[in-house]
């Protein structure tokens, strides 16, 4: 077996954390909590290392001769600007630095997400291209119904306070719950087997 040490550590950590879920023994729970605490701290370091990989790949794009990407300079400039401001203002806790989020990141992300409404509307208009047989028809009708329901137009004004409409809207609201519960249970089953492959040492993505 390749890299037995890291494989062994991964299997032990998984087993301890898993047992802590089912066995009410205090020592097992404390060790599990310690491991989880380390993992959380290490994930912060992993984010830093990944940001270094983001910057280095854009730096390589700038330096490559053949088709250098001019826009990568903006990535490095944007990073430098916000990172230095953060260091100067003393971190995310300072009110001035939070303006970077509320007046720079938020406008761009919200503006782009709002613009995506147009892309989603075009996709809703061209549903016929999805080409998945009768499922596309049921999907289209369901989308139309819930777009009208989510618009809040049919739940305003007193004229609609009729039991029949209320029951109909209630049943409509319940329709996706059944499928939703089945999907959630299915995803959970898949998650269990994927996690158990780590416990059994079959999947070892941590070995480079």
């Amino acid at each position: 077996m390749k890299a037995p040490l890291s494989t062994l550590i991964a299997i032990i950590c998984c087993a301890v954390v898993l047992l802590a879920y089912f066995l009410p023994f205090e020592p097992v729970q404390n060790i599990s909590q310690l491991i989880i605490n380390w993992a959380v701290s290490l994930s912060g370091i992993a984010m830093l290392v990944a940001i270094v990989s983001l910057l280095s790949s854009h730096w390589q794009k700038i330096r490559q001769k053949r088709s250098s990407d001019r826009y990568s300079i903006l990535v490095i400039f944007g990073f430098g600007l916000t990172f230095l401001i953060g260091l100067v203002f003393g971190g995310p806790g300072s009110l001035d630095y939070q303006n970077v989020v509320t007046h720079m990141l938020l406008p761009i992300e919200a503006g782009l997400l709002g613009a995506l409404t147009i892309g989603l509307t075009v996709a809703a208009f061209r549903l016929y291209r999805a080409n998945r047989g009768w499922m596309t028809i049921v999907f289209g009708i369901s989308t139309l119904l819930f777009v009208l329901l989510n618009s809040g137009i049919f739940t305003t004004g007193t004229g609609l306070d009729i039991p029949l409409i209320k029951n109909a809207l209630g049943v409509l609201q319940r329709l996706p719950d059944a499928g939703g519960r089945g999907i959630l249970l299915g995803l959970a089953l898949g998650t269990i087997t994927a996690g158990l492959r780590i416990l059994l040492g079959i999947d070892r993505p941590y070995n480079s």
Partner: protein, 251 residues
């Protein structure tokens, strides 16, 4: 958490491990028959086509904190990445890998190194192939667009947690005639992908990717273990409903 739930949990885990081991032994003897999923057939065919055309395969691990419920989707994607690297070893353009989370990016780069050390892929695959494309949902989607425009991508598999930002990626892939397979572990991402012409894996089908790419006998065995747990769960729910309707309580 009551002690009964703890006990049920341990029993389920024991059963799952037993099913996985038994079915993996059976798979070595005779291939386990798995139902046809058209998207999976397109995937293996498109990987071959991409190698023949000398164009790139792009595997995106998507967003989602690894220490969150997205670890399962990330672990599945690493097994898929290993298989794609093997199948496209002879390609002129090695696969590109992007992700929206720090730990996931490191795991993707680890898979690249281990495949290279095993001699499966040449030195042309260097670490820049695996990179973080953005830390927030929309910066992740915006960071993916250059690799769709400029890197001669012919086929793309995108997974992980995705939402409305997936529409930005699907539109660009449609414009560039890139064949895209969405394997998101978020139902919202699956709904957005379902409305577009590309391929989409629904619900837990995303966990079947390595099995359909013949990554090893344990993967189809895991699917059959899931099936077995599924039927146990269905029987448990039906029995519970019948008993509860006559006033008896199991849980």
């Amino acid at each position: 958490m009551t002690s009964i739930e703890g006990l049920i949990g341990l029993v389920v885990i024991g059963l799952a491990i037993a099913f996985m081991i038994v079915f993996s032994v059976q798979d070595r003897k005779s291939k386990i028959p798995l139902r046809r999923i058209p998207a999976m057939e397109h995937l293996s065919r498109m990987v071959g086509l991409a190698v023949e055309e000398g164009r790139r395969i792009h595997i995106s691990f998507g967003r989602g904190n690894f220490l969150d419920s997205h670890a399962a989707s990330t672990l599945t994607n690493t097994a898929l990445l290993k298989e794609v690297l093997k199948q496209s070893a002879g390609s002129d353009r090695p696969p590109a890998i992007t992700s929206g989370d720090g730990t996931t990016t490191l795991l993707a780069i680890d898979v690249l190194y281990s495949t290279r050390r095993a001699g499966i892929i040449g030195d042309r695959v260097d670490s820049r192939r695996g990179r973080l494309s953005g830390v927030t949902p929309l910066s992740y989607a915006a960071g993916m667009l250059p690799s769709l425009h400029q890197e001669q991508t012919s086929m793309m598999v995108t997974g992980g947690m995705l939402g409305a930002e997936l529409n930005l990626i699907l539109d660009t892939a449609d414009d560039e005639s890139i064949h895209i397979l969405t394997a998101s572990d978020s139902p919202v991402g699956q709904a957005v992908a379902f409305s577009s012409p590309g391929d989409v894996l629904l619900g837990e089908e995303i966990f079947a990717l390595p099995a359909y790419m013949n990554a090893g006998s344990m993967y189809p065995a895991s699917l059959l273990a899931e099936d077995s747990l599924r039927w146990l769960l269905i029987v448990f729910i039906i029995l519970g409903a019948i008993l509860r309707s006559i006033g008896l309580t199991i849980l």
